[in-house]
């Protein structure tokens, strides 16, 4: 029984690093050293997970470190490491960074646990652990009123949806008589089962910022510091998607209407997200709406309800999160207005070319990560005979090129602007930073590498192509 506990070693390491980060003033190198330490430990945790193998359900069946969990945990820990590396170089705007390091690591440990949760209670605790530090990160700067307001709105909505979801979970437990995913059976619940699933869906969809519960995301993100948004909008999402595949796999057999509901939410998210992103000039808002759209793509494969669909969903969650975080980190360096990126190709060519890689991946251009991610998503939906959804997905992907290429045009064709236009929001950085640059390069390499290594990665997730 105890022999399998080394599977938790990555989480233990991350939590230990988070606790150490709280005492950052006693660590060598103070704040910067703390961030480096966090980055190294998170990277180590990612490697441990990636090469750690999988296992059957353990700890009384409450967690299952299977292929999906391994992929999602690696993604969570790896992205946290990249984020911390960037923070080590650039810092948090206006505040010291050691608490941010601790918060990010706590959120990462929650996300890693969430990815392998096989029990309603574990899922709820891990979900809260992965999102609660996010509120603090969003309102990190105590004198920044828009940031605090964005954080409070995010907090209130997130807590409301948590409780709605929890209310649904209480019925799921009541009908099934157990909190283990493997024992969930809603077919006996009748109308109560439908209500339970609807409540759970409302909560989870709102957390994933899927339409029609997405309206909080652009507002909340537009208030936060871009560096906080980079973390909050990506890392918890990977874990949330991973646990959704597990939970929906458990409840789907008892609820025949689930695919249709998910497909409708997917269609609505893709259309609303992509159309609303078109006129945005604030990169945070643009990426928030693009996040809504990408949640739509993810829900498409969740609606398919096949194991291939679930694997494609988790694969795309990571393939989306890497470039999305990188774009927000660049916004944190250059400024959050689209015009702040003007002439980036001339002032910082390598950043502009990396941005191009990320944006092309988000659109879904081969051979980048996003292309294969979308290919598998659409393939899973086609296998489930949801042709209309795939057509909608392809059409909205083409529409999404519209706003991503606006960013590209700004970088490559516009004249460089005043540069240090609004140093007031702490976003504009001119100094060189080797570790921040490394973080961005890592994101670009990962975006290409995930695309090139798509089939071995998918094989590691349990697909035989």
């Amino acid at each position: 029984m105890l022999s399998g506990y080394w599977h938790f070693l990555p989480e233990v390491l991350v939590v230990a690093a988070a606790l150490a980060a709280l005492f950052g003033e006693y660590l060598p190198g103070k704040d910067r050293g703390t961030a480096y330490l966090g980055a190294v430990v998170a990277a180590l945790a990612a490697l441990l997970v990636a090469f750690g193998g999988t296992a059957a359900p353990m700890v009384f069946g409450q967690v299952e470190p299977d292929g999906i969990a391994r992929f999602a945990r690696t993604g969570v820990a790896g992205l946290t490491a990249v984020w911390l590396l960037w923070v080590a170089g650039r810092g948090m705007p206006g505040e010291r960074r050691r608490e941010a390091v601790a918060l990010a690591l706590f959120a990462a440990s929650g996300g890693m646990l969430l990815s392998m949760a096989e029990d309603l209670i574990v899922m709820y605790i891990a979900l809260e652990l992965s999102t609660m530090p996010a509120y603090v990160l969003m309102g990190y700067r105590r004198s920044d009123v828009p940031g605090l307001e964005g954080s409070l709105k995010y907090f209130l909505l997130s807590m409301l949806t948590s409780i709605v979801m929890l209310y649904g979970l209480s019925f799921v437990y009541g009908i099934s008589g157990t909190t283990a995913f493997s024992g969930i059976d809603l077919s006996a619940g009748g109308i109560l089962g439908v209500i339970a699933v609807l409540l759970v869906l409302v909560g989870l969809l709102a957390k994933m910022s899927a339409a029609p519960f997405h309206y909080w995301a652009p507002d909340a993100y537009a208030g936060g510091a871009p560096v906080a948004v980079a973390f909050v909008s990506t890392v918890p999402k990977i874990a949330g998607i991973a646990v959704m595949t597990r939970l929906f796999g458990a409840i789907a057999p008892g609820v025949p209407a689930l695919p249709l509901v998910l497909a409708s939410a997917a269609a609505l998210s893709m259309v609303l997200g992509n159309l609303a992103a078109l006129p945005q000039s604030d990169i945070r808002r643009l990426m928030a709406y693009s996040g809504v759209a990408h949640t739509g793509y993810l829900l498409m494969a969740l609606a398919a309800g096949t194991s291939m669909g679930y694997i494609a969903t988790v694969f795309y969650a990571v393939a989306y999160a890497v470039p999305s975080m990188a774009v927000m980190l660049v916004a944190a360096e250059e400024g959050v207005e689209l015009s702040d990126l003007a002439g980036l190709a001339r002032t910082r060519p390598w950043v502009a070319w990396s941005m191009l890689v990320w944006l092309l991946s988000l659109i879904g251009i081969p051979p980048l990560a996003g292309f294969f991610g979308k290919l598998y998503l659409f393939g899973a939906a086609l296998d489930a005979a949801m042709v209309w959804l795939v057509v909608l997905g392809v059409v909205t992907s083409v529409i999404s090129a519209g706003y991503y290429f606006r960013v590209v045009r700004e970088m490559f064709l516009a004249e460089p602007g005043a540069g240090v236009a609004d140093a007031a929001d702490g976003a504009v950085v001119t100094a060189r930073s080797r570790s921040a640059a490394t973080a961005l390069v890592l994101c670009a390499v990962a975006t290409i590498a995930i695309g090139l290594a798509a089939s071995p990665l998918l094989a590691s997730l349990g697909v035989r192509l």
Partner: protein, 104 residues
């Protein structure tokens, strides 16, 4: 002797939940919204404990679930109040309607 079944508890929980939901959506003061959210959390706990008693009377699953959700919601309320306090220090107001520096 009146028999009190699971429906009574679930009905009470539903009433509390609806009251809380109404408060969370309709109230303008951030503190009142937090209290309404707490009311909803309590209704969930009631639901879980009652279901545990009637569905799996020999196990403590529901009670354990309720303990965990209580701790989590206490932590969340603490965090929420800290945020409200931080905003109050800056703007001298906790009315959600005055928080319009972000417009979607």
């Amino acid at each position: 002797m009146i028999e009190v079944g699971p429906a009574a508890f679930m009905g009470l929980a539903a009433v509390l939940f609806t009251l809380g939901l109404y408060g969370a959506v309709a109230r303008k003061s951030a503190v009142m919204v937090l209290m309404s959210l707490e009311l909803m959390a309590v209704s969930v706990n009631l639901n879980v404990v009652a279901l545990s008693r009637f569905v799996t009377p020999t196990e403590m699953t529901g009670q354990v679930f309720a303990i965990f959700t209580m701790v989590v919601s206490a932590a969340e309320i603490g965090l929420g109040l800290a945020l409200v306090l931080a905003i109050y220090r800056q703007t001298r107001s906790i009315e959600l309607t005055t928080m319009d520096s972000l417009k979607g």
